[in-house]
Symmetry: C3
């Protein structure tokens, strides 16, 4: 059994932004030389997410609109009594989930033809991190 | 350490449909002869999901209604500028999550008494696939 | 490869309640003596969840309000024709997801500085259970 653990850092230009990290994950899978196993991709923050969807600008804009509709920014969250202003980003992180676990088969990510992995930033413009851990043999 | 990887294919009669796949997963666990480990069950599509809930017709209808309420079909999604018409299925896939990872203990799925595993189709009536990968020993 | 499987039991005072279980999980990781691996933390019920967020009273209240807004209690769910009255808890379990998988690195949970793991009860006041399974070496 082998494992390899790496971290990706992000500092997005926008407060909310989706970044396709499929190629970075694929590179870590290759580097690990693991042929069969699982790779965990997990945001290390409570205001971000990791999810699988489509590399298409329209759906990415739709997903951001939808996140805002279901988990809107507003002043009146109780979390804001602490001086914070990002409660909506916490809710969005729950909605999109903060991690995915992906199968590795024959040394490659075993994804469907349209599946891409995204880092979902909901409170950006500062340095944040994702852990990628692969285990297998 | 052992692994076993299998694929289930679906071609649902309805556009939206939930299919109980617990028995199929249990059969793959037995076939693997793995006694202790994890089994990943992951949709290979961006318009489908895999989730755990209850084998009861009422709640399954409630879950479909709820998916439609929170992520409704409508024409005005930007994704539809590509010629697609299934943006709502992308949103529903995020809401329900596309994968689960289940514990295997003593050679069996270690689920609670009411937990059943479902493939959640949101854009069906064509061949689609789920990957099931078990790792352990 | 090693595994260790433990179960945590809960019987919440309130119908809906979030319980921070990070220390319990960390103790199981230490007990396992596993240095590199994954730990799965999964509710064994279809009306509960396990999620990662912030140990701050305001955001926990906001998350409960948000769950109620997106998946409200009401009488008219079809599931209630069975005599049950907890359909909203099923929907909330889907919204928050029933499990997380966490990385273990250097013998510790590899979490960001603000990440805490919660058991999310949506239909409590009775004995319920979470399975914690760690695999690695």
């Amino acid at each position: 059994m082998r494992t390899l653990t790496e971290y990706l850092w992000f500092n997005t230009k926008n407060k909310k932004e989706f970044i396709n990290i499929t190629d970075e994950i694929e590179a870590i899978v290759r580097k690990s030389q693991i042929k069969e196993g699982f790779v965990l991709v997990s945001a290390m923050h409570i205001t971000a997410s990791v999810f699988v969807n489509d590399e298409e600008d329209g759906i990415k804009a739709d997903l951001l609109d939808w996140a805002e509709k279901l988990a809107p920014f507003k002043k009146e969250y109780r979390h804001h009594n602490t001086g914070e202003s990002n409660a909506d980003a916490h809710l969005k992180s729950i909605l999109f989930h903060h991690e995915v676990i992906l199968p590795v088969t024959g040394g490659r990510l075993d994804l469907g033809p349209w599946q891409q992995v995204f880092y979902g930033e909901f409170d950006g413009q500062r340095r944040k991190r994702v852990v990628i851990k692969i285990m297998g043999e």
